[in-house]
């Protein structure tokens, strides 16, 4: 087991190195002189030359790459061209909002997707099955930005059930401000017993989380269903039934345990999607997270921010996949010995 984890960590190191190389190449491929971009349109020639030396642009590429890596290890992702504040600070400020959204969405996706997949497998080829299969395919085909807009007009404009966006009503944030402990509004409100704010925050969180969860719910449902179909045909399931084990236990304990590995993989895939999906969802629902941060950067050609966020998200994705792989190896011993 340890060897497996060590091998994986070794591989992780190389992948991260490769990610840095890719973002480095991308940031150097920027059309135009990075020094000019840094200084703005009215820079003089001597200033440009000075900045070029300062940014290390006169050194050979591999030396620049080493400087780049050195900066990254110190947590220096560069400065935003727009605000001139360190990218790391900007990321740090916007990250909790996105994480809160992603966790909620992941929770919803697994809580809905897994049972739906199991029931669908149990009732194979019935109307329930067909409906849930269609629902799963449809949810993986929806453009997230379109779904978000439809939800907005349906639940905000026509039904008036949910707010149009944002993390909290301005009124509530002024009258019942949340004490900042972790940066996660839900957690902070809970911890400080601020029930008004908690209700308000959850109210705002619901629609974006559901939209973000939709794709992953579809993926998880499909994966769970197809693996459960395999598992339910196994002999030990028939044996368990003949002994008199209850159907509920067979489905959710005996069956699901063996279907868990591919489902975890599907959850990992879904999570990758969420990293991308959050960009669109946050844009539509005015959610002040990493997605908004990077979209604004895209509009203004703020390359350091774009590269920094890309690198961060990619690292996050790789690390999560590693954790999923380790979890799967823990759950399914067969994987460990491959």
């Amino acid at each position: 087991m340890l060897r497996f984890i060590l091998k994986r960590f070794f591989w992780l190191f190389f992948v991260l190195l490769g990610l840095c190389a890719i973002t480095f190449v991308l940031s150097r491929v920027v059309p135009g002189d990075p020094a000019a971009v840094y200084l703005g349109p009215r820079a003089k020639a001597e200033q440009l030359a000075e900045v070029r030396v300062k940014l290390g642009l006169d050194k050979p590429l591999h030396v620049q790459f080493l400087y780049y890596l050195e900066d990254l290890l110190r947590g220096d992702f560069g400065e935003s061209l727009r605000t001139h504040r360190p990218v790391m600070v900007g990321i740090w400020e916007h990250l909790p909002a996105s994480l809160e959204l992603m966790f909620s969405a992941m929770l919803m996706a697994t809580l809905i997707g897994i049972p739906l997949g199991v029931i669908s497998a149990k009732k194979e080829n019935t109307l329930t099955d067909h409906f849930s299969r269609f629902f799963a395919v449809a949810s993986t085909s929806l453009p997230s930005f379109w779904l978000a807009m439809l939800f907005q007009i349906l639940f905000f404009k026509w039904l008036g059930l949910f707010p149009i966006g944002g993390r909290m009503d301005t009124v509530v944030s002024l009258v019942n401000p949340i004490e900042k402990i972790t940066g996660f509004y839900v957690l902070d409100a809970l911890l400080s017993g601020n029930w008004t704010a908690l209700k308000n925050v959850l109210h705002h969180l619901f629609l974006p989380a559901v939209t973000l969860a939709s794709y992953s719910t579809g993926v998880i449902t499909r994966m769970t269903r197809s693996t459960m179909l395999e598992v339910l045909r196994e002999d030990y399931i028939t044996t368990a039934r003949s002994i008199g084990v209850g159907e509920g236990e067979i489905l959710f304990v005996q069956g699901l345990r063996n279907a868990l590995a591919p489902t975890l993989t599907a959850a990992g895939l879904g999570f990758a999607y969420m990293l991308i999906g959050t960009v669109f969802i946050e844009l539509i629902f005015f959610w002040p997270g990493i997605g908004t941060y990077v979209t604004n950067a895209i509009l203004l050609n703020d390359y350091p921010v774009i590269m920094g966020v890309t690198l961060l998200m990619a690292t996050f994705y790789v690390v999560v996949n590693l954790i999923v792989d380790i979890l799967i190896a823990l759950v399914d011993p067969r994987i460990r010995f491959e």
């Binding site: 890719i22 379109w146 907005q152 999607y273 990293l275 979209t295 998200m313």
Partner: protein
């Protein structure tokens, strides 16, 4: 006395093919997917003829009728520049399909030969190519595409190039696994024994036998490629206005969405239906090809 048995196989081969087709189209959802795709293809080809306002489809403004609700004249309404949404959607089908085919071509041209080389030569070459592929696969794909387009500047070509980069490793992997299973077969060994050159073996003998899963996968991926193009378009990183890209149309409609809901709704629906169609078809083909599922459906 050796006789070639090719002709003896024909009846059962035909039966196999018919059975597969029956499995695929026995499922009404798969057939629905195929029908939608055929309709899409036809609208893309015949857009200039089918569109009631082809100039508006290509971008000509018509400010007199801006933001008009769906009506007889304009079945899906008009956008903020008065252009007929229905015509724009038809022309958008052209752009989406052409762009998607372009991406698939790039991806196949890069990915397949690399997979062929990796699978055939094995050893260090294989390691090198596959590690590089895995490195790229470690990135969330649309994110990498966004970063590439942001660096190169927004344009349709850059967007298509940017989408191809994270995509080709899938085909390298697919091709490689195909090659590995085929290269140990008798006919390859015989060719080697006769003295056929390595490159000729790879491209003339191995490649043609690996093509069908590649073609199937490419067809399945079309839906997601179209979604990726639309997503980049929505962010303003792909097709530039006044071209009628579906993603751009959804983005343009956002400003007016609460009152003039038809702009974003119908263009988004076009994206959704297209991706759904490819997914339904893809699921159907995959189920037909998967021996375990076939066993369940086949009447003994």
């Amino acid at each position: 006395m050796l006789t070639v048995n090719a002709t003896h196989n024909h009846p059962s081969r035909r039966r196999e093919v018919l059975r597969s087709l029956n499995l695929v189209f026995g499922n009404p959802l798969t057939t629905l997917g195929l029908v939608i795709i055929v309709v899409l293809l036809l609208t893309a080809i015949f857009a200039p003829v089918l569109a009631p306002y082809p100039d508006q489809g290509k971008g000509l403004s018509n400010l007199k009728e801006r933001l008009a609700a769906p009506s007889w004249n304009h079945p899906l309404g008009t956008d903020n520049l008065g252009r007929d949404i229905f015509s724009r959607i038809l022309f958008g089908a052209r752009i989406s399909l052409q762009a998607a085919v372009f991406v698939v071509l790039i991806v196949v041209v890069i990915g397949v030969p690399l997979g062929l080389i990796a699978g055939y030569f094995g050893g260090k070459t294989d390691e090198l190519i596959m590690r590089f592929a895995d490195m790229i696969l470690a990135f969330p794909s649309l994110l990498l595409a966004i970063a590439i387009v942001a660096s190169l500047g927004p344009s349709l070509f850059n967007a298509l190039f940017a989408i191809s980069i994270p995509w080709w490793p899938w085909y390298t992997r697919l091709m490689r696994s195909q090659v590995i299973s085929i290269k140990e077969m008798q006919f390859i060994e015989s060719a080697r024994a006769i003295g056929v050159s390595r490159w000729r073996i790879m491209f003339r003998h191995i490649l043609p036998n690996c093509l069908s899963p590649i073609i199937v996968q490419a067809t399945l991926d079309m839906g997601y490629i179209i979604l990726a193009i639309a997503s980049l378009g929505f962010l303003g990183l792909g097709t530039q206005p006044p071209a009628a890209d579906w993603g751009v149309m959804v983005s343009e409609g956002r400003e007016y969405f609460m009152k003039q809901w038809w702009i974003s709704t119908f263009s988004g629906a076009a994206i959704f239906l297209t991706v759904l169609a490819f997914n339904l078809l893809g699921d159907g083909i995959r189920e037909a090809m998967d021996p375990k599922i076939r066993w369940r459906f086949q009447k003994m």
